[in-house]
C-alpha cells in the first residue's frame, strides 16, 4: 500500500490541474484543428482563423499576399496601397509572403522614388482596392485577386 501525504497530493494535484487546462485550452482544440485541416498546405493554413489559442489576425492579408505571390515573379517590384486597409493590413505579412520581391507601400516617404527609379528589366506591379486613394491601377488592365476585392495591374514590363 503506497502512503502519500498532503505535500505529494498537492504536487500531484498541481500536475493534474495543469494537464486539465493544457488539454482543454491547448491540446484538444489544436488536435481538432489539425484533424479538420489535415491535408491543407501551409499557404492555405495561413488563410484560416488558426488555432483557438493563437487566432490568426492576418488571414485576409495572407489571402491578398498569397494571390499576389502566385501571379508575380520573384524579381518583380510590387507597389502596394497604403498600409492601412479596411481589415487592418500588416506590412510584415506582405513582406514575409512576397520576399524576395521588392515591396513598397503608398504613403511611405520614398514611395515615388522607388516607383520612378525602376530598372528597365524589372516588372512592376501595383495592387489596389476601390477607394485606396492611390489610384495606381487607374485606367489599366486589371486582374482580380480572387475573392479579396483587391486587383493587380502591371505598370511596367
Amino acid at each position: 500500500m503506497i502512503k502519500r501525504n498532503w505535500v505529494e497530493y498537492t504536487i500531484l494535484g498541481i500536475i493534474v490541474f495543469n494537464i486539465f487546462v493544457l488539454a482543454y485550452v491547448f491540446l484538444i482544440p489544436r488536435a481538432q484543428f489539425m484533424i479538420d485541416h489535415w491535408e491543407w498546405g501551409p499557404e492555405a493554413l495561413m488563410e484560416t482563423p488558426g488555432a483557438m489559442d493563437t487566432p490568426n489576425q492576418y488571414l485576409k492579408t495572407y489571402k491578398v499576399a498569397n494571390q499576389v505571390r502566385k501571379v508575380t515573379k520573384e524579381d518583380s517590384i510590387i507597389l502596394m496601397p497604403t498600409d492601412n486597409w479596411e481589415f487592418g493590413s500588416n506590412r510584415s505579412v506582405v513582406i514575409q509572403r512576397l520576399f524576395p520581391r521588392k515591396v513598397y507601400f503608398f504613403g511611405d516617404e520614398d514611395f515615388y522614388d522607388h516607383k520612378n527609379s525602376v530598372g528597365s528589366k524589372t516588372t512592376v506591379y501595383a495592387v489596389a482596392f476601390s477607394g485606396d486613394g492611390a489610384n495606381l491601377c487607374f485606367e489599366r488592365d486589371i486582374e482580380s485577386l480572387d475573392e479579396t476585392k483587391f486587383v493587380l495591374c502591371k505598370l511596367k514590363n
Partner: protein, 496 residues
C-alpha cells in the same frame, strides 16, 4: 537530408565537448546541453559569415561543421555521473510518457502550423534577409527590430539555407532540453528520482511553457538559456562554497556564463537580468575570500557571459543607424561589466563584502534618480511603478497551478535554510525586483492601471502574450527548482 548531416556533425562535436568538460552531468543531460551548444555555435558561425558578407550556403556550413567535428575528435571523454538504478520506476515511466507525449505533440504542431504570429513574422523576414541579402540592416525591417539580437533569425536563416520548410521545429526541441536539464539538476540535487520526476512533470505540464514550446517567439528560448544558466550557476556557487576541484568550478562557470550570455544573445534586456547572478557571485566571492581564492572560474564566468552580447553590441556600432535609447542603455551596462571584469582581471581588484552592499545600495538609489530624470514621459513615474508592481504580482495567474507551489514556503523555516538555499531565494527575489525595475522604467502598454486589470481578468487574451508575462518564463524553472530543494518538501516526499 543535408541538414541532418550538418546538424549531426555539430551536435556530436558539442557532445564531445560536454563529455570532455562536464563530468558532473548525466549522459542524457550532456545530450541536451550539447544541443543548446550546437545552436549557439551554429548561430555564431552564421553571424560571422554574414558579417563578412559570405552567403551561408550549404557546402560552406557543412565544411565548417566537419572542421569543428575533426577538432573535437582530439578531446578525451571523461566519465559521466551515473544515476542509481531501480526505485520509483512508476514515476520515471510516467514522466517519460508525459513529457515525451507533450514533446511529440508539440513537434507535430511545429510541423503543421506555419509562422503567422505577429512578432515571429518579423523574425522570419530577418532570417530570409540574413540569408538572401547577407546583411543585418535590411531596409524591410523596422529600425527597432533590426537592433534585436540575431539568435532566432540566424537559426531561421540556417533552416532556410537547407530549405527546411517548418521553421518552428527549434522550439519544441528547446522545450525538451529544458525538461531534461531541469530533471537532471533536480536529480543531482535531491538524489531521488521521485522528486526529479514530480517537479519535472510540474514544469512540463505548466500550460504556458508547453504553449511557448510551439510558438516561435523569443521567450521560450530565453527561458531555456536563462533558467538553465541559473541552475548551473547554483551548482557552481555550491562548488565554490564547498571548495570542490578547480576544474569542476571552471566548467560550471563556463556553461552557466555561456547560457546566461546566450539569453542576452536572444533578447538583449537579459543582460539586465544577468546582473542578478553577477551581483550575487561577486558577493559570494567577496564573502569567501581567502589567500587560496582562485579567480579563474570567476574570469571564465564573466568572459563567457559577456561574449555573445558584446559581439552584438559591437556589430550594432558598425551599422549605419541610430541606436534605440534603450539599446544604448543596455549597451552601457555591458560596458560597465567589461570595466568590472577587466578590473578584476588586470588590476586585481579585491571587493569586500561591505563594498558589495554599498554598491548595491548606490545602484538602487541611482536607479530611482534615473527613473525620475530620464523616465519622464506621458505616464507619471509613480503610476509606472504601481503598474509594474501590479504586473509583477498579477502575471503569476497565467502560470496557473504551478505558482501555487509557493504555499510550501509558509511551512518552511526559512531562517534555518542553508546559506546556499538562501542565496537561491535571494536570486528569486532580486529577479522579481529587477523585473519590476525594468518595467517601471519602460513605458507601459496602456496608460492606466484599470486597463491592465481589465486585460488581466476580463480580457486575458490581451494580457497573456505581453512581453512581461512571457519574460516571467525565465523565473519559473528556477522557482520550481528552489521549491524542490526545500527540506520541508524533501522530508515529506522521501519519508512518507
Amino acid at each position: 537530408m543535408m541538414i541532418w548531416v550538418d546538424f549531426a556533425l555539430l551536435w556530436y562535436a558539442s557532445f564531445r565537448v560536454c563529455l570532455n568538460g562536464c563530468e558532473w552531468a548525466f549522459k542524457w543531460e550532456k545530450l541536451a546541453l550539447a544541443f543548446l551548444l550546437t545552436l549557439s555555435f551554429k548561430s555564431l558561425f552564421l553571424f560571422f559569415l554574414i558579417r563578412f558578407g559570405i552567403q551561408p550556403e550549404v557546402d560552406i556550413q557543412i565544411g565548417l561543421s566537419i572542421l569543428v567535428f575533426m577538432f573535437t575528435l582530439f578531446l578525451t571523454a571523461r566519465p559521466s555521473i551515473e544515476e542509481e538504478s531501480g526505485g520509483e520506476r512508476g514515476f520515471v515511466w510516467l514522466t517519460l510518457f508525459g513529457v515525451g507525449g507533450l514533446f511529440i505533440f508539440s513537434m507535430l504542431n511545429a510541423w503543421f502550423f506555419p509562422i503567422t504570429e505577429s512578432d515571429a513574422i518579423w523574425y522570419h523576414i530577418r532570417g530570409m534577409s540574413f540569408f538572401n541579402e547577407i546583411r543585418f540592416d535590411s531596409d524591410w525591417v523596422p529600425l527597432q527590430l533590426k537592433q534585436y539580437p540575431p539568435f532566432i533569425p540566424l537559426l531561421f536563416a540556417y533552416l532556410i539555407a537547407f530549405e527546411v520548410g517548418f521553421l518552428k521545429i527549434i522550439f519544441p526541441l528547446l522545450y525538451l532540453c529544458l525538461n531534461i536539464i531541469f530533471y537532471s539538476r533536480v536529480l543531482s540535487l535531491t538524489k531521488t528520482k521521485k522528486m526529479a520526476c514530480l517537479f519535472t512533470m510540474v514544469l512540463a505540464t505548466t500550460p504556458y511553457f508547453w504553449w511557448h514550446g510551439v510558438l516561435p517567439f523569443l521567450d521560450m528560448t530565453t527561458a531555456v538559456f536563462y533558467s538553465t544558466g541559473i541552475l548551473y550557476w547554483y551548482f557552481w556557487i555550491k562548488t565554490k562554497i564547498e571548495s570542490s576541484s578547480l576544474n569542476e568550478k571552471s566548467s560550471y562557470a563556463l556553461v552557466s556564463g555561456l547560457l546566461l550570455g546566450l539569453a542576452a544573445w536572444t533578447r538583449i534586456e537579459f543582460i539586465l537580468y544577468d546582473l542578478v547572478p553577477i551581483i550575487l557571485t561577486i558577493y559570494i566571492f567577496s564573502r569567501y575570500q581567502d589567500k587560496t581564492t582562485n579567480l579563474k572560474s570567476l574570469r571564465v564566468f564573466f568572459f563567457s557571459l559577456l561574449l555573445f552580447p558584446s559581439i552584438w553590441f559591437l556589430n550594432l556600432l558598425t551599422l549605419e543607424m541610430n541606436l534605440w535609447s534603450q539599446i544604448e542603455m543596455v549597451g552601457g551596462v555591458c560596458i560597465f561589466l567589461w570595466v568590472l571584469v577587466l578590473g578584476l582581471e588586470f588590476r586585481q581588484w579585491r571587493i569586500s563584502e561591505s563594498s558589495v552592499f554599498l554598491a548595491f545600495a548606490i545602484s538602487v538609489i541611482g536607479y530611482f534618480v534615473l527613473l525620475l530624470i530620464v523616465g519622464i514621459g506621458p505616464v507619471p513615474v509613480w503610476k509606472k511603478i504601481v503598474i509594474s508592481l501590479y504586473r509583477t504580482s498579477a502575471v503569476h495567474i497565467f502560470y496557473l497551478f504551478t505558482s501555487s507551489l509557493a504555499i510550501f514556503l509558509f511551512f518552511e523555516k526559512l531562517k534555518e535554510l542553508s546559506e546556499l538555499k538562501k542565496i537561491l531565494g535571494c536570486f528569486l527575489i532580486l529577479f522579481l525586483f529587477t523585473r519590476l525595475a525594468i518595467f517601471a522604467y519602460a513605458n507601459p502598454k496602456w496608460p492606466t492601471l484599470g486597463r491592465f486589470v481589465y486585460a488581466t481578468f476580463i480580457q486575458p487574451g490581451n494580457s497573456v502574450n505581453l512581453s512581461d508575462t512571457r519574460g516571467m518564463m525565465s523565473f519559473y524553472p528556477v522557482f520550481i527548482f528552489f521549491i524542490s530543494s526545500l527540506p520541508f518538501v524533501r522530508q515529506r516526499l522521501i519519508n512518507d
